[in-house]
């Protein structure tokens, strides 16, 4: 931390101030989340009279009904499949392209890299209607690929940049030594660059996984049948169907964000580093 020396001198007054201020903010962050989780245990009547407190009677059925139905699991699986395909394709396609930018000299390489970097400038929403028409004309509407391919394409700019910067910083000697040993580009990529690139693979993987898992606008436009819905679409539909039955919606929301929260607490170091370092390094 910056003020390493303050550890010895942080006065009692400062400590009190820090803990009070930090705790207030922490409570403001957590209240909506706790309200949601607790709300899922209440009856509709109690939700109206006592929206923020602990439930007087705990209705576990709100949760168990969802967990024993197949709707919740189907949406989770759909989201997982789409995210896994997105991560895999993003990693494969961007690592290969970035490798050529980092190590192979060819005519137009600078221009081509800038071409990809244009993708960093604007969001998928700008071209959402032509994108819809393209996916429709390719016959990919209402399929996983209709969501995956545009997601991968829009993530390429950032991913290629992260990979290229990383590959370029690998020590030059490695490259020369491999060459002298008679190793070609493709073998060099597979046996040397990729194994050394594990940290950046994790970064790019986390960024594209979180992006895909939480994505709403692309599935909303590309998927029609409920059996293919990802969870962000699913909770919107669920909320629409059950209208004012907020206790069910709250239980459903809690269960859908629970996997994210669990994974976040398990792998917090990697996730925070991936999401912020990714932003800084590009």
């Amino acid at each position: 931390m910056t003020d390493a020396d303050t550890s010895t001198r942080t006065s009692v007054a400062t400590r009190v101030y820090l803990y009070v201020a930090l705790s207030i903010i922490a409570v403001l962050v957590l209240i909506p989340l706790l309200t949601t989780a607790l709300g899922g245990f209440k009856s509709l009547g109690e939700l109206r009279t006592n929206p923020f407190g602990l439930p007087s009677t705990w209705y576990w059925s709100n949760y168990t009904d969802i967990l024993f139905g197949d709707r919740y699991w189907r949406q989770m699986v759909n989201s997982l499949i789409i995210a896994a395909l997105t991560v895999f394709l993003t990693l494969a396609v961007s690592a290969m392209a970035a490798f050529t930018f980092a190590h192979v000299r060819f005519f137009g390489s600078g221009f081509l890299l800038n071409y990809f970097l244009v993708g960093l400038m604007f969001p998928a929403a700008t071209a959402i209607l032509p994108l819809f028409i393209r996916i429709r004309d390719l016959g990919l509407l209402d399929s996983y690929w209709g969501v995956v391919l545009p997601q991968v394409a829009f993530g390429l700019g950032m991913s290629i940049l992260l990979f290229r910067n990383y590959f370029r910083n690998l020590p030059e000697e490695l490259f020369e030594a491999a060459f002298i040993d008679g190793c070609g580009y493709i073998r060099f990529f597979w046996y040397i660059s990729l194994p050394l690139a594990r940290p950046i693979i994790a970064t790019v993987g986390i960024i594209s996984f979180v992006g895909s898992w939480n994505s709403y606008i692309l599935p909303l436009i590309m998927l029609n049948s409920e059996s293919k819905y990802t969870w962000p679409l699913g909770i919107m539909v669920y909320r629409g169907e059950y209208g004012t039955n907020w206790q069910l919606a709250l239980a459903f929301i809690t269960l859908t964000i629970l996997p994210t929260i669990i994974v976040f607490f398990i792998a917090q170091k990697h996730i925070i580093a991936g999401l912020t370092a990714g932003a800084v390094k590009s």
Binding site: L33, L156, C183, W246
Partner: protein, 291 residues
Amino acid sequence: MTDLTVSTPLLPSAELVKAGRSGNPWARGRLPVLLLFLPPAILLFTLFVILPMGEAAWYSLYHWNGYGSPQQFIGLRNFQVLFNNAAFTQALWNNGLIILVSIVIQIPLAIWLAMMLAHRIAGVVVFRLIFFLPYILADVAAGLIWRFVYDGDRHLAIYAVLAVIVWKYFGFHMMLFIAGLQSIDKSVLEAAEIDGATGWQKFRHVTLPLLGSTVRLSIFFAVIGSLQLFDMIMPLTGGGPSNSTQTMVTFLYTYGVTRMQVGLGSAVGVVLFVICVTLAFGYKRIFMRND
């Protein structure tokens, strides 16, 4: 692919390396690697990013419902309709307001928290974790959660939206500043202290200037993120009541996508594109030249 390398093992090493980097395109399998590694990225990117953007510009000049091919050329009428549409100008205004709040409230809050978490006190890691938590939740989930928390007053809808944005994103900016603070040389702060600088003076004249590049980066992300806001608005307000919380993208969805007005929707896309690219280029050129 490695035939060539195997058949010429006696070349002096320097020449070998040179041969691979220039001249003969077959050296070390240079051509195969280009033919194998580049086309997937080029194809995907062109097909799903560049062409759709070009098509948006083209479609924006037509009145078209998305079936058959665009025939009814209407010039810039879609843009004229847009800028005379009260909901769209409200959306532009809201996007501006969101950018302003992100910069004026969110970033100082993030710096303040990052400074507090720089102290060596117990529990720092837990606080950092809690503050970052909203950022990893889906915007849709955050929007729905807050929809329930607010449920009621519809007059202050836009302020509700702004509050949720700060709640959701301050943790990300805070992490940027924590990283920025860690890269500051402690001896500079110690020197300032020896010169008798107070806490505020140290912050104002040493820490803040040294955080300059992080502040600029943070503003950049806030601006680009604010412009594409959609996921959170839909569950929270759906752009209502009476269009008071529309953003450019919710407008695009409501008027372009759901009504299949491809021309009008594409025109919104073009406006958004021009704003994004102008801001990104301009900002990088003016403020981030040296970063």
